[in-house]
């Protein structure tokens, strides 16, 4: 069965997006990409560090061999001006209109700045970018981002790199229910494959993971685990889960049961 993820009209055959940061080596990153088969991989722009020239090039040379679609980010930008400038430079370097827009409002928990985010998204959409904003689970913020022209939203599960999993499940689920037509990708804060599975079961369209894979003891195995969990969650959602009930209901038929009538349940202490 074909189950395509559509982002800004572009079709993707998988629903996991993979970050490329914090791997022990570029080769390990490539192996993790092969294991996860991500729809896109996130990348950033940085100054060339003194002495880090080789490492930087090695990263790029190796990443290019994977032929994966790129999703440049504006990580670390704290103002609209910085985010816009970084976005334009990213388009120059990576030659794509796709952009993971980050405008950070707090340097402790790396929480998105909702006001700066809407302002930057409004301008970037006008400039032809396909903006995927990294946002919170606030419904009104999400609506404003849609008004700005964003066609995809990326609400957080928890602060970046914490691995906590969905910190506010009710808000995330409500967001899903209120914006049924909008592609929603849960970005940031996932730590376990079960977290990915969980949000996919809730009907989210995809997940973006980085630290949970790259800092695992075996990143390649974890990449596989996340890919499988994402698929399992998606299938579970599509299959239509049963409603949760308070009372037990025997799954094995009562009719034809042997010893019917021969015994009765007697609670202990009442015999």
């Amino acid at each position: 069965m074909q189950d395509t993820l559509r982002l800004y009209g572009q079709a993707f055959s998988t629903r996991i997006l993979l970050g490329t940061a914090r791997y022990e080596s570029p080769m390990l990153l490539v192996e993790a990409i092969h294991a996860a088969v991500p729809a896109m991989v996130t990348v950033s722009l940085r100054r060339q560090i003194q002495g880090g020239l080789q490492a930087g090039h090695s990263f790029w040379d190796v990443l290019r061999t994977t032929n994966k679609a790129l999703l440049p980010n504006t990580a670390g930008c704290c103002t609209v001006k910085e985010a816009l400038s970084t976005a334009f430079m990213a388009r120059e370097v990576f030659e794509t209109d796709f952009l993971k827009l980050e405008v950070i409002g707090d340097d402790q928990n790396l929480q998105p700045d909702p006001f700066g985010l809407v302002e930057a998204a409004t301008e970037l959409v006008k400039q032809g970018f396909r903006v995927l904003p990294y946002c919170t689970d606030d419904l009104v913020l999400c609506r404003r981002l849609l008004d700005a022209g964003c066609e995809v939203l990326m609400p957080w599960a928890a602060p970046i790199g914490t691995g906590q999993g969905p910190r506010n499940p009710k808000a995330l689920r409500e967001l899903r229910e209120r914006l049924p037509e909008v592609p929603l990708i849960v970005d940031a804060g996932l730590g376990l494959p079960s977290h990915a599975c969980q949000v996919m079961e809730w009907g989210f369209d995809g997940v973006l993971v980085n630290t949970a894979v790259s800092r695992a003891i075996d990143p390649v195995r974890m990449a596989t685990a996340f890919a499988n969990a994402t698929k399992a969650g998606r299938l579970g959602y599509l299959a239509g889960p049963i409603p949760v009930q308070d009372l037990a209901m025997a799954s094995t038929p009562e009719i034809g049961k042997p010893f019917w009538g021969a015994s009765q349940f007697v609670a202990k202490g009442t015999a």
């Binding site: 490329t20 990348v43 930087g56 334009f88 430079m89 970046i160 790199g161």
Partner: protein
């Protein structure tokens, strides 16, 4: 003439052109440049004259989440 390139002071001989600066730095492709927080497109490098005190950023692909 004095510039700030990636946060560090740098000198550039006259005439101060962006193209000259990029040539001196022996950069490997790909990279992108901003001048005073405004992107300079590749097609504009040749025409771009620099002014004293300009802040230049040069960035390369890097790992990101």
């Amino acid at each position: 003439m004095s510039l700030t390139v990636n946060g560090q002071e740098a000198q550039l001989p006259d005439p101060p052109k962006l193209e000259t600066l990029l040539a001196i730095l022996h950069l490997r492709q790909p990279y992108a440049v901003s001048r005073n927080e405004e992107v300079v497109r590749r097609s504009e490098y040749q025409q771009c004259s620099l002014m004293d005190g300009d802040r230049i950023e040069i960035v390369h692909p890097s790992a990101g989440g």
